[in-house]
């Protein structure tokens, strides 16, 4: 057993470890981030948040219209307010997910 052999085998092991880690690391990341498959999950989330805002806006506007007899004006107004709510949903979710994981 000579001295110089040991560092080289350790270096070798280090390199192999690093290789193995870099090979496995990307696999684990996307699942941790919360999206079902990276961009697709994120897109799904944003789309649902946006549409939910608009849908609730239109529904509330329609109800108020029926109650107050102002068809269709409040629905139009609440469509835009709902769109605003949808955007604020998305912005808030995005801000939360950016500060949370790290």
């Amino acid at each position: 057993m000579s001295e110089p052999e040991r560092p080289s085998s350790l270096d070798d092991l280090n390199k192999r470890l690093k290789d193995a880690r870099s090979k496995h690391a990307p696999d684990e990341k996307p699942e941790d981030e919360g999206g079902s498959s990276g961009g697709l999950g994120l897109g799904f989330r944003v789309a649902i948040d946006l549409v939910a805002g608009v849908a609730v806006g239109v529904f509330v506007g329609w109800l108020l219209d029926r109650w107050l007899g102002t068809t269709p004006w409040l629905m139009v107004l609440f469509f835009f307010l709902g769109a605003g709510a949808g955007f604020s949903n998305v912005i808030r979710a995005e801000r939360a997910s950016r500060t949370k994981p790290d």
Binding site: G34, A55, A85, N89
Partner: protein, 240 residues
Amino acid sequence: MASPLEQFEISPIVPIQIGGIDLSFTNSSLWMTIAVIVAGGTLTVAAGRGAMVPGRLQTIGELLYEFIAGLIKETIGSEGRKYFPIIFTVFVFVLTGNLLGMIPYSFTFTSHIIVTFAMAIVIFLAVTVLGFVRHGTHFFSFFVPPGTPLVMYPLMIPIEILSYLSRPISLAVRLFANMMAGHILLKVIAGFVAAMGVFGILPLALVVALTGLEIIIAFLQAYVFTILTCLYINDAIKLH
């Protein structure tokens, strides 16, 4: 060939009609009952032994407990511990439903919007009541984002209220859409296997991969549903 949408059909098993309202025990009810029995049974057995060195079932129970306890601590803090039972129940029920749906010929009740919406609206109402109990009328200040200039109040308050009202919808739709889309995709691609003859081996491989992905999504969507519940409770307790 069977339609890929056939899997979502509701069929009554025990027809019950009370006062013109259809209260039949359907296949959906059946699978919800199975989910409760499976989840309850597993956890009862898991908790019953209490061995120093946990067996398989006890490990599942402990993992679930620690996972949810950690989630609550992260999102709500130590104050959230008293909401552990409801959050744990929501997670286990949704997860069991999602996973039971992965068994061939079973029924995925979480792929029905009325089921997810019922859960979402209960959570939404409970969280709203919680907010009012904790803060009284001061809870209304939740609808005014901090730092809003007075001029913007007429615009921001309706937007915030609508944004708040859209919560149960996005909560319900997220779970339902993910489960439904995944199950339709599986059935459509499985349909190609028979249609393509020898080359059906390609979609078959894809179905195998997608089944794995669906199981991941089953866990992920249960997790998302739970973490959003935690965040809503956190909002109601802390207001911003």
